[in-house]
């Protein structure tokens, strides 16, 4: 696979590390509940189709990226930097 890093350009997927689904949002703060955190840490949609997921360009620019990739074909529709998102979008 090739991932088109928005900073570095197209690179072999080998340069990246995969984390998992990008959509779950960490329930931040002291008010967060154990149940919400359990859901965030463990439960996944795991879709067969487009999947927004986190990849880390560890061998390149050290950016975390959100990659929209089809899990049936591996075709990548979109790659965005994760850092442009603002915090506080709690689950």
């Amino acid at each position: 696979m090739r991932i088109n890093c928005p900073h570095c350009g197209a690179r072999d997927a080998q340069e990246f590390t995969y984390l998992g689904a990008a959509d779950p949002q960490r329930p931040d703060g002291l008010a967060a509940t154990e149940a919400a955190m359990t859901d965030y840490v463990y439960m996944r949609d795991n879709p067969a189709g487009p999947h927004r997921e986190l990849w880390y360009h560890g061998a390149g620019c050290h950016s975390w990226l959100i990659v929209t990739r089809d899990t049936r074909t591996h075709a990548i529709a979109l790659v965005e930097p994760a850092k442009t998102r603002k915090a506080g979008a709690a689950a």
Partner: protein, 206 residues
């Protein structure tokens, strides 16, 4: 007090790993490698909203523009190399006077001295691209990786910061920075990859 400067001899990243000479196929060397020593290097990291101020300072101090994309900006004494979003490496051929410059930049960015952190190699010669193609997962064709282009990547499982300088008469010129601790493993790959073309190795100032 043991403050005699002579007892604190620095030892560069290539010491004990590579030495000047030749290896591989006999005859005209296809690749030239210069082990760079004595350069100054620092990482400079800004936040998006401080980048403008940093950029102005750099412009004022060095007459260079911070490259916003993977490029190198070259000045008479200093280079600024893109090193990630809002991150750069400041490089100078000599470490003298480097510290003062770094403290001026610290006002607008996080600056960390990295002069000893990297082993550096300048590669040139007609077969330089062919050697790199055995480890670099990047298109280094002259049109795809132009003069001044920069890449952070991996070579044979070793992290590498690579850029292309002006061509020499006998072909392209690349510089590559490697984690100091992995210089030996990189060298092992390099020797295995370059020997079919014949390689001449020299030491040089950064």
């Amino acid at each position: 007090m043991a403050e005699t400067a002579t007892s604190w001899d620095p030892r560069g990243a290539w010491a004990g790993i590579a030495q000047p000479g030749s290896f591989g196929a006999k005859g005209e060397a296809g690749v030239f490698a210069i082990m760079l020593e004595g350069f100054g290097l620092a990482s400079v990291i800004a936040e998006p909203d401080t980048t403008a101020a940093l950029s102005q300072t750099v412009e004022a101090l060095l007459g260079l523009t911070l490259p916003p994309t993977p490029r190198i900006a070259r000045g008479p004494a200093h280079d600024i190399v893109w090193a990630g979003p809002d991150q750069w490496l400041l490089r100078t051929a000599s470490r003298n006077g480097f510290t003062g410059l770094l403290s001026e930049l610290s006002a607008h960015a996080a600056v960390s001295e990295q002069s000893d952190a990297r082993a550096a190699l300048r590669l040139s010669g007609p077969r330089a691209r062919d050697v790199l193609a055995k480890g670099v997962m990047l298109d280094l064709h002259p049109t795809a990786f132009a003069i001044g282009d920069v890449a952070l990547t991996n070579v044979a499982y070793v992290g590498a910061h690579l850029w292309r300088l002006d061509d020499a008469a006998d072909g392209p010129v690349f510089e590559i920075l490697l984690p100091r601790s992995m210089a030996g493993s990189f060298w092992s790959w390099f020797v295995a990859s370059a020997r079919e073309f014949g390689c001449r190795v020299a030491s040089g100032r950064g």
